[in-house]
Every structure is written in C-alpha cells, then in structure tokens.
C-alpha cells in the first residue's frame, strides 16, 4: 500500500481545523496562548470582544534604552495560582497609550509588539502592560488581535489550546 495515499478513515474532522466559519477559526472565550519571543510558554488568556487592545498583567515594569531603542523590562506570573513562577520579559516599546478600563479609569500604559502563538498560528500583536493586580486573567486578548483570524464562540473554552497543553510543559 502506498504510504502517501490518504488513509480511507481520515475524515474532514481530523484532517482540517474543526469549527471554521468562513476563513476564520473558532476561538473560545478562554484559551492558552504563548509568547515565544519573550519566554512565556503558556498563559491563560481571556478572549474579550469588549476590549479593543490586548493587555498583559505585568509588574516591576521598568523602562530602559538599548541601542537607542526604548525598551521595557517587566515580570509576569503566567499561572494564576502560582505566584512563585515568574517570567522576566524584555520587549521594545512601540507606544504609550491612555487606556480606559471597564471601571472607567484612565491609565497611561506602555504598548509592546510581540509574536503570539494561538493554536497553530503565530502572528504579531500589540499589548498594553498593566500592573492592576485585580485582573483575574493575566492576559486579555482584544478585538484588534482577533479580527483577522478568529470568531469567538463564548460558549466554549480552550478550543485552540490542545497543542499547548500537551506539548509544552512548564519549566520552572
């Protein structure tokens, strides 16, 4: 039997990403995502169509300069219940922006641009850094990051998270 031939029992379901509407993938309201360039293997994101920009819950945020480029160094607790696990990240600052949160409070925040991996896709997103520790999720994925690729099914969670959960363990 020719190995290159498609096995007969392969259905469309296990051959293509399931649950696609038009050319966009279905994403749940919670997903595990990763940021390969800043060393975050796994962080739980709330997929939030109510927010324009994405946000990362960071602390000890400090500005510095590298080769004339404005940079920012910050720490993240990627896991909600594990405050001993800290990732120190560095990223270029592309903007500072006034952001109004859902409580109506205005805050000046650094904006970074970095690749994010969701399911099988890796693409660049903008995220603001905030140190509000009342944020339940350490990551919010807003409309701008979602708009080209995803449609949100808010009755589901972790639709695109299977790969991250299985393959990437947490290295402490």
């Amino acid at each position: 039997m020719n190995k290159n031939r498609m096995p007969e029992n392969r259905t469309s379901e296990n051959r293509t990403p399931e649950n696609r509407i038009s050319d966009k993938a279905i994403i749940g309201w919670r997903e595990w995502v990763s940021f390969p360039d800043i060393g975050i293997d796994k962080i739980k994101a709330k997929v939030d169509t109510g927010a324009r920009t994405s946000a990362l819950h960071a602390f000890n945020i400090e500005e510095f300069s590298f080769n004339g480029q404005k940079m920012v160094r910050f720490k993240i607790h990627p896991l909600q219940r594990d405050n001993d696990y800290i990732v120190v990240c560095e990223a270029a600052v592309i903007d500072t922006r006034e952001v109004t949160d859902s409580g109506g409070h205005c805050e000046k925040r650094f904006v970074i641009e970095t690749p994010i991996t969701i399911g099988n896709e890796t693409f660049s997103i903008e995220a603001t850094l905030t140190d509000r520790d009342t944020m339940k999720f350490r990551m919010l994925l807003g409309r701008t990051a979602l708009e080209k690729r995803f449609i949100v099914d808010s009755s589901k969670s972790y639709v695109l998270s299977k790969n991250i959960n299985r393959k990437k363990g947490i290295e402490k």
């Binding site: 031939r5 498609m6 259905t11 469309s12 379901e13 051959r15 293509t16 399931e18 649950n19 696609r20 509407i21 966009k24 279905i26 309201w29 709330k46 997929v47 939030d48 169509t49 109510g50 927010a51 949160d101 859902s102 409580g103 109506g104 409070h105 509000r132 009342t134 944020m135 919010l140 807003g142 409309r143 979602l146 708009e147 080209k148 995803f150 449609i151 949100v152 099914d153 808010s154 009755s155």
Partner: protein, 160 residues
C-alpha cells in the same frame, strides 16, 4: 492520483460547509443595535465575550413592592436620544466585583432582547453606565449557544 486528491479536497470543503449549516451559528459583530421588548425601542449594544452577564445603563431607578414582590422601575436613554421606561420584577440582586476592588450590588431583571432575528430573555443587571459609550453590554450568558462574535465587524445582523 491528482484527481483523487482533488476529489478528496472537494469532499472536505463540502463537509465543512455542511457542518457550518448544521450548527446554525449566527455571527454577530462586536456592536449591534438590539430591540427591547416588543416596543421597537433600539439600544446600541456592545457584544462582550469578556463579561459573564449582561448589564444595562439604568437611570432614575426606583424600587417598590407590588403584591409582596420586589419591583423596579427605571428609564433608558438611547443613542438617538429617546427615552424608554421599564417596570419589571426584580429577579435577584447580584454582587459585582469592580476593577478597583469595590463590590457593587445590582438589581437583576429579565428583559426581552432581540438581536437580529433571535429574540430571547436576557438576565441584565442595572448599573450606571452613563460614563460609557454603550448603554447595553451583552455578555456570554446571553450569547450561548447560538451566537458567535466576529470582532472585525459591527452591525452584521442589525441596521446601523
């Protein structure tokens, strides 16, 4: 061989569209104009997958008792500057933890909300949203199971 692959691809595509039809999901934008009750009164709503529940900007809220039941009367003002008064029994009160850590107690009522062709009862809590752009926030409990949200679009099932 090529032909077989081509047929296989065709099968996948047709299978996919069949699946999309079978689930009958309605794609809405992140902003939609919804109708309240059967009144024809419209409200601009933000469709917010980040919120558990729905909330509405209620003005002049007054509480009263009718036949031993707790009722509430309040008024709405929409983007077209029209007012609408609602009188409903209070379903329960809910405690909402705010971003600043404060806890707010809010009345919850049931409201008939029509989004596109679908009309259903929404549990909404009453809040002062006067400092926000949108008077109604539609959360996940309303959206499940038939709506999905395309955050690149607005007014996909309703008129602007």
């Amino acid at each position: 061989m090529l032909l077989k692959q081509f047929i296989f691809m065709l099968l996948i595509t047709s299978g996919l569209s069949a699946q999309a039809v079978a689930t009958e999901m309605i794609t809405v934008g992140w902003l939609e104009n919804v109708h309240i009750d059967d009144s024809g009164y419209r409200l601009k709503a933000k469709i917010d997958t980040g919120a558990d529940n729905s909330s509405i900007n209620a003005e002049d809220v007054t509480e009263f008792t009718k036949d031993g039941e707790q009722w509430v009367k309040f008024s709405l003002r929409n983007a077209w500057d029209k007012n609408y008064t609602i009188t409903k029994p209070v379903l329960n009160t809910t405690r909402v933890k705010m971003k600043n850590g404060n806890i707010q107690e809010r009345f919850v009522i049931e409201l008939d909300v029509r989004l596109g062709k679908v009309s259903k009862l929404a549990k909404v809590n009453l809040v002062d949203r006067s400092h926000f752009k949108y008077q109604l926030l539609i959360g996940r409990s309303f959206l499940a199971p038939q709506f999905v949200v395309d955050s690149s679009r607005t007014f996909t099932v309703t008129d602007k």
